[in-house]
Amino acid sequence: MNRAQTLGRKAATRLVADPPEWLRTLRRDAATQDLGVSWHDDDTIAEETEDADERPSDWGLHTQATRQHIRLNRPHLVPVAAGPEYTRRGMGTESDATWYVDSRDPQHLLFAPSPEYPPFLHVPAGTTAEQMAQVLRGFFPVPRPTRVTLPKVARGFLGYLGRLGVPSPYTGQVEGIDGLTLDRYYTMNLYTEVNSWGSAFFDDPYPEEWHRPIEMIGLGREAMKQADAVPSKTWRTAHSGSYLTIEAHDGELLVGEVRYRSNTYPEVVEKLNATFGSYFPTDLPVDVIGALLGFDFQTIDMLERELAEETDPGKMLGQLHIATALAYGDLDAFARLRPHFDHDNPSYRAQAMNFLLSYNYAYVLEELAHTEPEEQLSEQLHRVLNRGINSRHPDIFEGGADYDYDDEDEDDE
């Protein structure tokens, strides 16, 4: 028996021997059954804790700090109930949500959409059936939300493509990011549904029910298409139904965009941010945060503050590049950045103009052309504007997923 199992057994024994009064009452409350929740009997609690593991099992991108947190906390959490049951779309696998009591502080339930959730993503779930129902309202939405019913948008800089990676499900080794490696990563990852889609689709193109495999391959290939826009891939998160989009700007900056419904448990994210030094918006659902584990999530507010203080032109350009990527799709945010495209240094201005070109902000280039004092730069800019802007972001996702499907085609033949 390992350390986690020993600690888990002790925790379960303590809780079974002397359960808090609220738990005794709650287990007898028929309203909890209407939520699809089944309470474990004492034997089942003991069995479940025997499986306790100190290691992450969510296929997420963990750091030393998150692993340590799991090791220190998971054994103390006693699973007391399961459900509702749900099916992971695209995989067909069934899972149960899990309800815990922290044996060190048995004041209330904790909810996790899956037993693989790390403790720092568990949601306090109160001591009554109504409070349990309230927590469940943020998960397993029916019907699944769409772009117009996901009212909140959060965008964050994930990092530079060349410095980021995701673990291979085959070797566990971190490998560079492209369409194939990201798809493989999020296929195994607990927090997202299996299939992604490209920027040609504004909404989830996949059906509720899977049809014949050959149809799904066709749909999957179609869904990979990119619009004439910043290349991106989007996944639906597995438990809140949010959209997580990863955009590749200029072939080097990765930006994450989340469309979601605000959570009702900001204190969970506040605590997580304080523990790990992250800065996720505190109303993000926990499955979104799980899917973003291991990535940075710098918001435009942070970049704007840096830009306001920075005086070195080189560093300012780096910040402006990221901020411009984060402002993509938000004219109000972009308008706030507009003063940073003016500068005394002509090299700075020239580079800043390149940022504008790659997003087709023609009206700002016209403004700059009107005031540009350097003759050569002015002539260049007018030539570009006369000819028409035609600059695109490289599609770093191209190839990977297609290669996968081509393989399957060959197998079919």
Partner: protein, 222 residues
């Protein structure tokens, strides 16, 4: 034949500095449902549409309000159905087509003239689409509508071609190249040799001919 001067009266530009949230907050406050949210692309502008309800006691209709975020031209436009036009005009800081014609003609700041012409590019398309269902069929091609010139737009763009500032001329030229009004072709021919930086563009549009609107799906550009 004259296009109705009211054909663009349901279309507005939000004054600079007015955030998108001014429109979305209004929609939320009125209980209008967001029904479409198309993100921007490289050349594609972002569009949001709300299903507008009003006058329910009298059984009055349901229609859509549209918000366009044009990252290329740098304006934000709202189109509002009759049902809510007064409410929109009373709630948001707006410019109408007439305001934009005035700016294009007489604003001292060339950037204001340029922006006005860029916005009028969009207004003329909306106006032509609005006029299309009443426009006669082209006898040479009954699938297409004959859209009558709206002289207000053609005059504004022609004047823009004479502007001393290149950006204003570019805005005017774009307006003439992308219009549904057949009279633009004569203006393009007239100015071809006077705009040497744009000869290639003008030749391309002259060869291609005026954009057309299909009769079968009025509102769909041909």
């Amino acid at each position: 034949m004259t296009t109705s001067e009211l054909s663009d009266s349901h279309c507005y530009v939000l004054r600079p500095g007015t955030p998108a949230s001014a429109v979305s907050d209004l929609a939320v406050g009125q209980g209008w449902e967001l029904v479409a949210d198309q993100p921007r692309g490289y050349d594609r502008v972002a569009i949001r549409r709300w299903r507008v309800t009003g006058g329910t006691e009298t059984g009055a209709g349901v229609d859509e309000m549209e918000l366009i975020d044009d990252h290329i031209a740098g304006y934000r436009a709202v189109t509002a159905p009759d049902l809510i036009r007064d409410r929109i005009a009373g709630s948001l800081p707006l410019w109408s087509a007439d305001d934009l014609f005035t700016q294009a003609q007489s604003a001292a700041d060339p950037l204001v003239r340029m922006r006005a012409l860029r916005a009028l590019q969009y207004f003329q398309i909306v106006a032509a689409m609005q006029a299309a269902p009443q426009a006669p069929l082209d006898p040479d091609d009954p699938d297409l509508r004959l859209i009558a010139d709206d002289e207000r737009y053609l005059a504004a763009f022609r004047r823009g071609l004479e502007d001393p500032v290149p950006g204003v001329r570019r805005a005017a030229l774009d307006g003439l190249c992308r219009t549904f009004y057949p009279g633009a072709q004569a203006i393009l021919r007239e100015y071809r040799d006077r705009l040497p930086d744009h000869t290639e563009t003008i030749d391309w549009y002259l060869e291609k001919g005026t954009h057309r609107i299909r009769a079968k799906a009025d509102g769909e550009a041909g």
